[in-house]
Symmetry: C2
Subunit: 477 residues, 2 copies
């Protein structure tokens, strides 16, 4: 057996890095900053994809695929976009053995190439809205990387929509933010807070960026999905126009929104404990692992018969039977705990005699998470138990989050909160320079504004000015 | 209404190009040779993906994701591989504003990067077999491109497996070839012929390549999927070794296999007619289109009520109701015919009165494909009719294929067959130079060897030598 994981207390960052590798979610690729997503990690991502894709289709979106390679000149058409992304580009200069006339960039995001196609496809108000999503890989030349959280290449979905009116585009931006929040809570049991980002934290080229912010186990914030209202910025840069019902030529209003493999990092750092991953049942690649237990070979056939019967009852779930030979039950238990399987069922000779099974919940370690159930009726008892686990994970993460958000009214307590305790929540009067100074001094950034429209009025904790806005500040990934 | 498609007879190539654009399957991207797969084309690809992925999982494979960017030096490690792929590489020379120490290639295929990871992951016979697939985009710098058939970037799946013995790897190669053949016939109604490729047509670095070959509507062949037995070539180049049960260090035996968006081209050119696409029901994004027909507004509500009732009956199918206003039924019929929807249901006021609907089969144009059915019972009648359509498409394509394969015994008739009539099937004695000369003189290539092991013996149509092999020759895409 390898030595234990570092505890989260000892070294949260190292706990994360080792856990990702040992649980076989991902591995380092030969190119600096790139990752290989291993089968267990990819199965988790496929479940995330399915849960999101169903929501996209239910809200009227369709999928398509736009090219990986973008003419470099496209990136320069939107002023803020080029400033934001230029430092991060990977550039193809040679193809088929020859130097290219114009270099191509590997897409860091697809507003420019999709904008170009929309300009071609959209002529009339009858063509609107266009509601397209793509599942894709993108490349951003990041200097400091970490598996899933920030890698040169990552996987995501990017929705790109075009609308006839500002109002519709605003509604779409908000709709997808809420879709993300619902997905994160319902599927990932990650109690995100949705809200608007500040000017200095918004997407390069957006009018406004909204995000879902999650609190990790070390109380740092993780931006876990973003929805951008792009106004007419990209429509003007790429000439996306339509004839309205009055036969007037108008620019479209566009949005874009994305969730990436980073969300796997959110799941790991929201629920994981010192024994390893704790995966939410709705997304777990393996929801139930069955470990057959027998010492003598003559016990085996009766045990395996019971295992098959239980497996048949659970056929609608994602179930794995651990039949590996030559490993002790204890080794197997540790292994599946490391891998975060929500529920373990043990079946031994005594269980066969009694017509029961032993169940262990991953979310409640030790004795308190153990129970015994009759074999008859597992087809309804186990799904119910998985839902209980799912609900408990969300409740635990919500309680953790809420006990680590502190309302502050002065800079001294702000500094203490963001350095040691969690997130600061405070009255805030917009000021780009103050925001930059706070970041410089405390490493904390303005994560999002509170979205409650009826906050009333208060005094900015930093400037002392009157304001009607509150904001969350935290150190972040 | 736009002008009609060119007929296949007039100009098959132009028929294809225009059909892909007009049916909104794909569009040309701003970068030469790249394509945008539009929502209708991508929905078709998603159905292909699902059908293949289910088969991969049923045969024990799992999915993962390996990086897009590969150090250039990796490509040179396998001698034949580098010769085959070097001329087709797209090369990233700059990242994050700086020149890279070592250029990176955009993967044209992933044997090299996956081989590197397998060398790291595989230590013991207990780690074998490794059965991994990935769904990915790849880039090959092709000079002559055609939408779906040959584009700079395309989408595919690539399976990569590692085994302890040659026998297991050979079985895997054959298994996946048969999985592909079954997929193509059952799902695509494309009656492919599976078989081994010649030395000169095999994958760069393979010991043997097997493919499924399909006959297009112009009688040209299209290689529609490949399965490669890689022997120990890549294991030796990338040091993929394991300790066997006797504690001896051995090289693995590996395979790789792929099907790409090219298969969409196979579907278009196998089934399409002069009116447009004809999609096989099992893969069609829309299986049934319902066109409500009414002239006066007072007819509308009764018709739409019946439409809803029919739609409810067909809820397990992929159904679209064409409610577009201001378009004639005739326009709509043409539109859905162009898009290849397998079955059209018309519901008008008379149908409502009679409790019937009118159905039109896409695979049988005109009166013969029309029928009337009672509304009651459509939930079983329509799926049965779709299966009939699926079967008919396969039968038609098989009959077409078989009537365009000609057994030849001399070079004169060979030349006539491959120039005008279809595929030549002939006794063939292996000879690389003869094969090259035939290609040079007739543009026909050896597509595959016949896989019947009991052919007996005959005389090579070209060299006059005795041989126990027969082969298919054809011009191809």
């Amino acid at each position: 057996m390898e030595k234990k994981l570092p505890t989260r207390q000892e070294n949260f960052s190292e706990w994360y890095n080792q856990l990702v590798l040992r649980a076989e979610l991902a591995d380092y690729a030969p190119v600096r900053g790139c990752m290989v997503v291993r089968p267990y990690g990819w199965a988790l991502w496929e479940n995330i994809q399915k849960a999101l894709d169903d929501r996209f289709k239910a809200t009227g979106h369709v999928n398509a695929a736009f090219p990986l390679l973008i003419p470099q000149s496209f990136m320069t058409k939107e002023k803020e976009h080029v400033e934001g992304f230029s430092p991060e580009l990977a550039v193809v200069t040679h193809g088929g053995g020859e130097k290219l006339e114009e270099p191509l960039v590997v897409r860091p995001t697809s507003e420019t190439i999709i904008g170009t196609m929309y300009a071609k496809w959209i002529q009339s108000y009858r063509d609107l809205p266009v509601l397209i999503n793509q599942w894709a890989n993108v490349v951003r030349w990041e200097m400091r990387t970490k598996l899933f959280l920030r890698t040169l290449e990552f996987y995501w979905q990017e929705g790109h929509t075009a609308h006839a009116t500002e109002q519709e585009a605003l509604e779409e931006t908000e709709r997808m933010l809420q879709v993300y929040a619902d997905f994160a809570r319902t599927e990932g049991a990650v109690p995100v807070i949705p809200g608007r980002k500040s000017e200095s934290e918004k997407f390069a080229g957006a009018v406004n960026t909204y995000s879902i912010e999650a609190m990790m186990g070390d109380t740092k914030a993780l931006q876990s999905g973003t929805s951008h209202f792009l106004g007419q910025n990209f429509a003007k840069a790429f000439d996306i126009k339509f004839l309205d019902e009055g036969n007037q030529l108008q620019y479209c209003w566009t949005t874009s929104w994305g969730v990436s493999t980073r969300f796997i990092g959110a799941i790991i750092m929201t629920h994981g404990d010192d024994q390893g991953l704790v995966l939410p049942p709705r997304l777990a690649p393996i929801q139930v692992v069955i470990v057959p237990i027998y010492r003598k070979n003559e016990e085996k056939s009766a045990v395996m018969e019971a295992v098959s019967a239980v497996q048949a009852q659970l056929k609608d779930l994602r179930v794995k039977v651990d039949e590996r030979e030559g490993l002790t039950p204890g080794f197997k238990f540790n292994d599946w705990e490391l891998k975060g399987v929500p529920l373990r069922i043990e079946i031994g000779p005594k269980d066969v005699q009694n017509g029961t099974v032993a169940l262990s919940r991953r979310d409640i370690p030790g004795r308190d998470g153990k129970s015994f159930l009759p074999m008859a009726g597992l087809d309804s008892a186990v799904p119910a138990l998985l839902q209980t686990i799912q609900d408990n994970l969300l409740a635990k993460a919500t309680a953790f989050r809420d006990s680590h958000i502190f309302e502050v009214t002065d800079y001294e307590s702000f500094k203490q909160v963001v350095a040691e305790q969690g997130w600061a929540y405070a009255w805030w009067s917009d000021d780009r320079e103050n925001e930059a100074r706070i970041k410089e001094e405390t490493k904390a950034t303005l994560r999002i504004y509170a979205s409650d429209p009826n906050l009333g009025e208060g005094v900015c904790f930093y400037s002392g000015r009157k304001t009607n806005q509150k904001a969350y500040f935290a150190r972040s990934y």
